[in-house]
Symmetry: C2
Subunit: 399 residues, 2 copies
């Protein structure tokens, strides 16, 4: 008890302002904007280099693990800290952890973001000259935490809802809705915390570049009421695993279409028609988007896949005659019914992902399906690709 009292008083009085003063390499390093209050590390310089440190006095080996790079050994200092400075990194938010004697360790200096199915550290490397995802002195929409009761899953589910600034001021107006999904291993908070979707929309709206819209961000994992979670196991290519994933996707599809959409249309001043409803998602969320929207064209008329599209991420061929229950088999009819198909990918994404999306784009082309194809220059399978995707995608909605 006493120990805790001391700890807490210390937390009150000093953990607030971390003591800096660690020897640093040359450069104009500053604490990352993603750090917790007062933490001096990680630090980022104007070249995009990142300095990290972690205390592990008794460890024999400590490695830094940026998820988009090979692991690297950190260097032990005399004071029990291990340090590392990266080469310049591409702008954006980069997940990482330390590996201390074989254990995955979060960085206590960093905020944690839900990614890779766990709370993970991440460092923001600024993009010089980019303000579209920075908070500005413009009218701000509000993000709401909501809980809805889903009969499909038999549980209360949490979602995030962005309402544009004019939602509060134009109280007679009704608004179109974009359903915007996170990726595999992430959750419904990702588009706000990592993606800054609300800030991007506020800024687009202030510049008159997009229509005011509601954005609904749901939790993309689901299991059916009273059922066990689908037993996903076996190697990635196994049919059993694919079947279990489909079970999970199917439960989410029903949750979205039977529970969440009715809840949103009942709770907010929406325009509850297919012409005013869009869906998009990143990675796994993009796959879910294509599966769900093509099956429910009565509900959606705008479709976006950010680094994740039809046919999964493996890059396998898609036969538009049979894919999506044949929804695209008659290109002319599909083009008439669907107002936008949008697919995007980062040029530095893993080859398999890049090819998967690029091949899908080519398949759409050869099948005569009208669509927009976007490449984000220099970015990986990370949030900078998806922030840019949203910035490109949103202005094309509800026109």
């Amino acid at each position: 008890m006493k120990r805790f009292a001391t700890l807490l008083l210390a937390g009150l009085c000093c953990a607030v302002f971390a003591q800096a003063g660690y020897a640093q390499a040359a450069g104009d390093f500053k604490p990352a904007t993603t750090n917790v209050w007062g933490a001096e590390y990680p630090r980022v310089d104007s070249q995009g280099r990142v300095q990290l440190r972690v205390k592990a006095a008794d460890a024999t080996k400590v490695r830094i693990n940026f998820w988009s790079n090979p692991k690297a050994d950190m260097e032990k200092q005399a004071d029990g800290f291990w340090t590392y400075t990266t080469p310049p990194m591409v702008p954006g938010l980069h997940y990482y952890n330390f590996v201390v004697d074989g254990a995955e360790v979060s960085d206590t200096g960093s905020q944690s973001f839900f990614g890779g199915s766990k709370y993970a550290s991440a460092v923001e490397v600024p993009e010089p000259g980019s303000t579209y995802y920075s908070i500005q002195d413009v009218p701000h929409g509000q993000v709401r935490d909501v809980w809805y009761n889903s009969k499909v899953t038999g549980s209360w589910r949490h979602a995030m809802v962005y309402l544009p600034p004019t939602y509060e001021t134009q109280t007679k107006q009704r608004f179109p809705v974009l359903y915007l999904q996170h990726g595999g291993g992430e959750d419904e908070t990702g588009w706000i915390r990592q993606g800054r979707a609300n800030v991007i929309l506020d800024n687009l709206l202030a510049e008159g570049k997009c229509k005011p819209m509601i954005i609904v961000m749901a939790y993309g994992y689901a299991k059916r009421a009273g059922q066990p979670a689908p037993a996903v196991s076996g190697p990635p290519t196994s049919p059993d695993r694919a079947r279990a994933m489909q079970e999970m996707f199917s439960a989410f599809e029903d949750d979205l279409t039977q529970a969440l959409i009715p809840f949103v249309d009942k709770t907010y001043r929406t325009l509850p028609t297919r012409e005013n409803r869009a869906m998009a998602g990143l990675s796994m969320g993009g796959m879910q988007t294509f599966q769900i929207t093509t099956k429910h064209l009565d509900l959606f008329s705008y479709i976006g896949g950010f680094s994740g599209v039809g046919g999964g991420m493996g890059g396998g061929p898609v036969d538009l005659k049979t894919a999506f229950g044949g929804a695209m088999s008659d290109a002319a009819a599909f083009n008439k019914k669907v107002r936008l198909v949008w697919v995007g990918i980062g040029t530095k994404e893993p080859e398999r992902m890049y090819q998967g999306v690029n091949n899908f784009h080519k398949t759409l082309d050869s099948g005569g399906i009208k669509h927009i194809y976007y490449e984000s220059p220099g970015t990986d399978h990370e949030w900078q690709t998806w922030r840019r995707s949203l910035k490109e995608f949103a202005p094309r909605l509800f026109r």
Copy 2:
């Protein structure tokens, strides 16, 4: 890149459902409600025992560190996991981390909550028969994430705002406001994520036990625009440190009274009078509450301190003639002006904290200051004390 693709596909397809099947002690252990999707550990049984495990194949020593208990050694298993089962724990949310060869490690199976100035793991031990902080099938208010531009701090600041269910339906009605503060080392998300303030209010409202109110949860740390963060350093008892803390408190006071309150009154349908404004906080937030409200009795008429009150947490004597700028020196005048003073403490809190609050209660008594004193049976300086405090405090507001 390839590595990342594999990692991500694995994340997509299998991290979703963690593989359980770890040998377990006898008992009816179930995954904690605070776990991330699919994580089987930590597990809690009906006696409140918690089973933990962490993989650290190459480590030589791994300890479990529940913040309210002494550290304990974990036991290495043949498969590279280290395991530990606690004795029965008091109900509530318990912060913890692992210590792997001297490094503090979060549990990847647990959600992370901001506490102790970092993102920390925590496990929820249910309170048998308690439903007041469980989500129920009752009307739900909504929690909003808001950002306001503070001239005091020269920055955009994030706050959480709970609006009661009737805010949406009774669109002509205006509502009283409770400003509710987190503790040292926590942030504005604590009262929702750890404290479940919104759920507690929804449930109280559904039972007709409290008045509909708006709750505003601000970030309690602040520094003045253009100034460095107050340099808090030196031993806990040093006057310099105390002065730096006061600087920080003072910046927060101005931010709250000059930026946040005007923002809230402009943005929401509030009743913007002192009779309809309350402030409360836990631990450091309780100290801030007493400092700020007594100085601004033109703004507030309800005051709550949960495990943190006037005079700090050290339990030192408070002289009501001089404390709070003399606001309580004339008890009759103070009692007439202030509608509620409420102080609470958990009976199992560290002695120093318990005595600090209990002595303050006695000082109020002997000084003739009317107040409510509450003790939470069996709970420590942890969230269960503060959830109970809110449940006791909120029904007394705005009567």
